[in-house]
């Protein structure tokens, strides 16, 4: 069977606009794969490599030929872009805008690049970077002939296959919207033998247990439990008893389906039924992860369940990665950090231009929509002008409250906020301003009383 993909005509325009003489541009194809066809939602140009003064002689300049593009750079882009995708959406492959025709014959360079991407996306399993299909798409727009061509490449068998892509004007996919709010509040004891583990390893351990937990989950869509191979579209339909509130097919626009996940209480993670352990500490993970995702109209209930799981785990993995990358020092080295609160970045939703689908970005404490605008521009090549296109759906934790909780538990300890490489100043600045405002208002208050 020939792999086929559909995309909005706008994306073809986007690609042709990238065509310049003497340059080669590479980008990522983002979308949702299905057994019959792939739904492409976005093309994202890989930003120019402002690499370290190393091997790449083309620093700062756009590469001329496809061969000049750094595989690792594109792979890294794929990883960053994946973090921003909702569950069910993936980096499906690459597009290349070049003078030469790179698909006939199929250049070896494509294989190595796709191989790099594949491995990079697999390096953290909780990012769910690669879909279950081993094929990656390659779309080549040849500026010389002004035509595009599509092929697919099977990573596992290293074979090139025929593939087709259709750019449709005003492509309107009837996406099914699914959303939920995942609630976390869990205590993970650090047993003594793992006391010297780096934080990153603890995080992977916790992610693994969360990921595992989803596997036994029962997913309800709008309060219904259905067979895994039922079409998601059937939810809310074909009810024998018409219900008063079954109103979500009224005005064309589909209301998002609410997902409820329940997991059996059988404590399988805990092993033995009673243990006394020496612990080197504990990690409490608490908060909400917002999930909003889109599924193609033929998606089944189990597709949806999987996408939700992937979305939640991916989002957690993404923000933990970003958080750990941002830490100045490996946290376990500093002895004063016996009691600390870590705030990984929070998820914000970004509406794609010309689409209902939203992608995610992550904002560190103190960051606002401006920061999101920058990373969106850089990583996805999206201009988001209106601030209302960026939705802060999770909210920041009230640290003073957590601070007090911490003090209650441990009165003689002081909580340490962790210094971060990025945004540190912004945040501290924020604190300073807050403090100033407080002092000012107090002063004003007293002044008023005296007068």
């Amino acid at each position: 069977m020939v792999r086929s993909a559909v995309a909005d005509e706008g994306l073809l325009t986007y690609m042709t606009n990238l065509a310049k003489t003497d340059t080669c541009t590479v980008g990522l194809i983002l979308g949702q794969p299905t057994s019959s066809k792939d739904y492409i939602i976005h093309f994202a140009k890989t930003p120019p490599c402002h690499g370290d003064n190393g091997k790449n002689s083309n620093t700062g300049k756009s590469p001329k030929k496809f061969a000049d593009i750094l595989d690792i750079w594109v792979a890294d882009h794929a990883r960053h872009a994946t973090r921003m995708l909702p569950g069910g959406m993936y980096v499906l492959g690459i597009f290349v805008v070049s003078e030469e025709d790179i698909l006939s014959p199929f250049q070896q360079k494509i294989k190595t690049m796709l191989g790099h991407i594949h491995r990079r996306l697999n390096s953290n399993e909780f990012l769910y970077g690669n879909p279950n299909i081993p094929e990656k798409l390659v779309v080549n727009y040849c500026t010389t002939t002004q035509t595009y061509l599509c092929k697919s490449y099977d990573i596992e068998t290293a074979t090139v296959k025929q593939a087709e892509i259709k750019f449709q004007p005003k492509l309107a996919v009837k996406w099914l919207q699914v959303e939920c709010k995942y609630e976390l509040d869990q205590l993970f004891p650090i047993i003594e033998e793992r006391g010297n583990w780096p934080l990153r390893r603890h995080m992977q351990d916790i992610l693994a247990s969360i990921n595992e937990n989803f596997k036994s989950g029962v997913f309800m869509f709008d309060g219904e439990i259905r067979d895994g191979d039922d079409c998601l579209e059937l939810v809310g339909k074909k009810r024998k008893v018409p219900r008063a509130k079954s109103g979500h097919h009224e005005s064309g626009e589909l209301k998002p389906m609410q997902v409820t996940i329940i997991v059996p209480c059988d404590g399988r993670n805990l092993g033995q039924s009673l243990e006394l352990r020496s612990c080197a500490g504990q990690i409490r993970l608490a908060g909400h992860v917002a999930c909003k995702l889109w599924l193609h109209p033929k998606a089944t209930v189990s597709d949806a369940s999987q996408a939700v799981t992937q979305d939640l785990v991916r989002s957690l993995a993404a923000r933990l990665e970003m958080h750990l990358d941002s830490l100045i020092e490996e946290e376990h080295g500093s002895p004063e950090d016996t009691n600390s609160i870590h705030e990984p970045p929070r998820r914000v939703l970004v509406t794609l231009p010309n689409s209902t689908v939203t992608l995610s970005d992550y904002l560190f404490p103190g960051e606002g929509p401006q920061e999101a605008q920058i990373s969106l521009q850089e990583l996805l090549d999206i201009e988001v002008s209106e601030q209302d296109a960026i939705k802060d759906i999770e909210g920041q934790a009230d640290l003073t409250e957590l601070y007090n909780d911490g003090l209650e538990a441990d009165t003689d300890e002081i909580l340490h906020r962790l210094p971060r490489a990025t945004n540190r100043n912004i945040y501290l600045g924020g604190l300073a301003i807050a403090f100033l405002v407080l002092v000012l208002s107090l002063v004003l208050h007293f002044v008023k009383n005296y007068i």
Binding site: K181, E183, M220, P264, Q272, E331, G395, A397, D410
Partner: protein
Amino acid sequence: MPPKLTVSQNVIDRLTTVKQKCLGNLYGILYKNTLLIIGLHIHDGKKSEFIHSLPTEIDLHGVVEVGDGLINEDRVKQVMSDVDVTDTPIYMSCRISKEENSIETYYNVNNRLERTTYDIISEYDIYSQFLHIRLMTQLPLISGVTVEQIRDSFVVLRKQLTHGQVVFNFPKTRVYMMGSDCENGLIGLTGDPTVGEICKESTGITEGCDHSYQKKKGPPLDIDVLRVIMFRKITRDLVTDNVKIHAPVMHIDKKAHQSLIMTINIDALSIVHRDAKVVELYAMLVESCCRYLRLLEARVLANIKTCGGDYTKFSEPETFHFFPDSCGHFITRAYVKNDSEEELENERMVLHKQLLLPLYQPLFRRANRFLFKGDVQGSGLLINPHEGIKTSGNGGEIALVRGKYSYYHYCQNNMDDNGWGCAYRSLQTLASWFRWQGYTEKEVPTFKDIQKCLVDIGDKPSNFVGSKQWIGSTEVNFVLNSLMNITSKILYVSSGEEMGSKGPELINHFKTQGSPVMIGGGVLAHTILGVDYNNLTGNIKFLILDPHYTGSEDLAIIQKKGWCGWKGVDFWDKTAYYNMCLPQVPICI
């Protein structure tokens, strides 16, 4: 209007025979303006936590006073002050007399005692109206190791249950009981069914449950138990105001500490009227889980206190459900694994007295636990295969084995003892009876144990171990005595015909001792489980359990082909002599 009062026959039976002054609580279920008093607990004014041992929905509804029958109203009101589930607590006055005590009941209405009448209800009638729900699930407990920390962790655990984030499910069905959202909180059921209705419907809910569809007329009683498991909702649909929402944060505390990591195996019972709506079960199940946790917490805390800082002595708690015949309701007890039955004897003694139960037989040892259908039996052997066999039609006085035993017969555990092992198997059946009733914690002896024992006491030469030699009633007696400290009476008959004259002695044995009897001698060995002796005609029938059965554990075959069944005197060989070994039951609790 105070509710109509009914009192369980078991409560009446115990109260009418007590000869000592005492004061206790009355526990009951209120349903549709009828109060059913089902249990009692004598506490003599001390604080009683007994309620945590009872199925949920059974609450404290009043007090009982056994004495001279004189009522001191002020004192009565004072002792009734603990009753908080009702405005009209019950006061039961029981006057000791030489024959049966007389019982009077009063409601406290607007601070005045009003005499009321009551109906007595049999156990059978109670359980035709009510059924049990058994919630089985697991909860993690991670806590510090001090008493305060553990207590706090239990509080947190109970709080979490009440946040509406738990979901209940009838296993293997898609019926879920949710705390809130969706219309009536039920998923997978339409309408507003009652508990009784979902038991009848082919919803699959009763699959794997302790449930009998065909209600037999009259006793023996089947106790219906619906199983429920628990889920936890990990998403939140509606954002309530008191929940502060924020993106995940991590609080990392790197302080070294001791941690208690425990998986609590919840096994909580509730009792519910068959007419109750399924939607009402949610709150009840949450409460049953909390009640169970309180019971367990008390035992865990007691245990940690006895450890006195030496946490290596800390032992896992475990709970058991008991259903003593003379109580007529479930009592759940928590023990810790390390406590031996001996160590728990004082506690049991107190409990027997508190419940006005006989002091001559164990009722709350682990072995006495109620066996739910579907509970996994370690040995896989059949228990009480004689149950359900038609009576002999002899029309006489029937006396049967009391309590549980396991059916041991030829060729079990891949051992070919066909032709020589029948007495060994009968001995094993006898031993299992003592184990089931809680008289011993010793394992049922293996063939090797039996042979070794007989060599050790000098009854047999050392080459007897590993041989295929027969044993008889005397050997059975020796082994029971040396391995389990059980003495037996030996009855001798010179021919099979003479068995016909042993009716009165066997009736007496089963009535007073209730243990199974081994019979052997010149020929084959069997187990006698009961007799039907007609003293008008002199005819006698024996309920025989035959150890010569070589097939699999198939109850239908065993009953149909008479491997367990009633036999006449002609069953015994006229030309052979017989010895019967009648094990005597020790007096203990």
